[in-house]
């Protein structure tokens, strides 16, 4: 669960380093702490170790399937907001879960910011 005394933490899980890089730049510019994960198998442990306020998760990553990653993350952090990003326009089943949103790449900056802000506000709301 987020530490209300510090900046919100966002875990960015994407196997594309360039994408992670621009997302980091965007979110750090908004005052978020960013933790990057480039492999699907490391997502769960990253979430467990840094207790983020938001997980941005690419739906197709090496190391683990979305279903497996999603289930493991939800097992440890039931209410963690998750933003699913996909290079394809098809909406994955997990997008219908509570505290979960979905955006299709490439995401316009304004839409990314508003979605992240909206999701973060749910966890930081008293």
């Amino acid at each position: 669960m987020a530490d209300r005394g510090r900046n919100p933490t966002v875990v960015i899980a994407d196997d594309d380093a360039l994408i992670r890089s621009v997302l980091r730049a965007t979110l750090e510019g908004e005052g978020f702490r960013v933790v990057e994960v480039g492999d699907g198998s490391a997502v769960t442990s990253a979430v467990a170790s840094c207790a983020p306020d938001l997980l941005i998760l690419d739906v197709r990553m090496p190391g683990s399937s979305l279903a497996q990653t999603f289930a493991e993350v939800r097992a440890g952090a039931t209410d963690l907001p998750i933003l699913l990003l996909s290079g394809q326009p098809e909406v994955p089943l997990e997008a219908s879960s509570p505290q979960t949103r979905y955006l299709s790449k490439p995401v316009p900056l304004t839409q990314l910011r508003s979605t992240v802000t909206d999701l973060i506000s749910r966890t930081t709301r008293p």
Binding site: Q88, P89, L93
Partner: protein, 499 residues
Amino acid sequence: MMVRSQILELLHTSGIDRLVHDLPDAMFVFDLAGSLIYANAQLTARLGVTPENYSLPFGSLVAAEQRDEVRAHFAAVARGETAHYTNAATLPDGRSVRVQVTLMPLLHNDEVVAIVGMARDIEELEASREIRSALESRLESILNSVSDGFLFFSPDWRFTYINPRGEAIVQRSASELIGRSLWEEFPEAEDSGFGLAYRRAVAENHTVTLRDRYEPLGSWLEASAYPTPDGLAVYLRDVTAEEDSRLQLIASESRLRSLGALLDVAHDAIIVRDPHHVIQYWNAAAARIYGWSAEEAIGTSARDLLYARHDEFDEATRRVFADGHWRGELAQQTKWGDTIIADSSWTLTLDGQGEPETLFTVNTNITDRKREEAILLRAQRLDSLGTFAGGLAHDLNNVLTPILTSAQLLAEQEADPLRQRLLSSIESSALRGAEMIRQVLSFARAGWKASECRSTSGSFWLSSGSCVPLPCRRTSRCRSRSVIGRRTPSAIAPNFSRC
């Protein structure tokens, strides 16, 4: 010696003259001197002889060369004996006939007073005997040579005649059977159909015909029994071979009916043609597939009836006549004007001289299957295209994401108008590229949006999870719906490996 008048008186008082006057044989009376005293009507009519015109010795009654012999007979009779002899008599028209003569003495007071004679024309009798003998011989010859059996039975059922063919049929010789009882020699016949038929023919006095199997001889026999005044005549034929053929024919017809029924329940069209393609057999499936009934199709040319294009048909014909068989796909036309695709198998049979006799054809209607294969192939191509487009879209969107985000971030921090325009161009290009990717995906997946028919065949499901419908059938009702497109989370299971 009595004189003529006394003898005539004696004939008259004894009634002899009246008794013999109208007999069919010639009757005469001579006195002992050899004079004709009496001639009955037959003698006068046949020989033209009367006591008045008769002249000694013997007139025309006795041929000259036989007169001594006849005199001797007369002398014997004059002594009280009886004489029988044959001699030639000459008729008034000059013809000579043979007569049989009997002479007896006419006694009065134990003395011979005259000679009474009777003459019978035996010319016709002997001719009749000869004719009868010839006829009998000829009849026997005929009966012996005919191919059917003749048997004659006496009224007490004894064999009186059996010809050689009859001997062969009953497997017994005439010498064993003639004079023997039918029922003793063939005891099984008495209660058989033949025994009943023979007795019925006699009892009802009409012809009875019967064809039946006679087990003791192991034969099928046909008997016609004709009652005669002398018993029963039986005309007997061994019809075993004929019956065997008939039973075989019945069995063959039964097998053919069974085979025909079997062919009629087949799903494939079975057609038999002669070497000139004239249809000789057309099963029920052929009628269902092509629309023409057997009555309409048989006798017509299969080439003209079923084929609008003759090049493929003629090539198949050339091959089957060369190789004895051929199999391939042919486009055929139906009575309704449709064109169907048939998987056609042809076999040529030859006659005893090795000449083409019959063409057997089995046609399977594969029109639906060919159409389904084409649709499936198209769907597979579209599926591959969709897979490729999906992967490409993912990668390109991943490429565009940092470009778009970076351009928008930089633009927010850039005060220089030129740089602002350049960053705006990058942003616009990235967004245009993303839109193009979306359009490519939409185009590639347009094939997944298809109509689905209500049919018993169901639909094909591809690896991508897309549904490919089967083709419409003539009688089914169709409905359209989008089977894939933008998936909704609750409706379509995800395929993570492709996201």
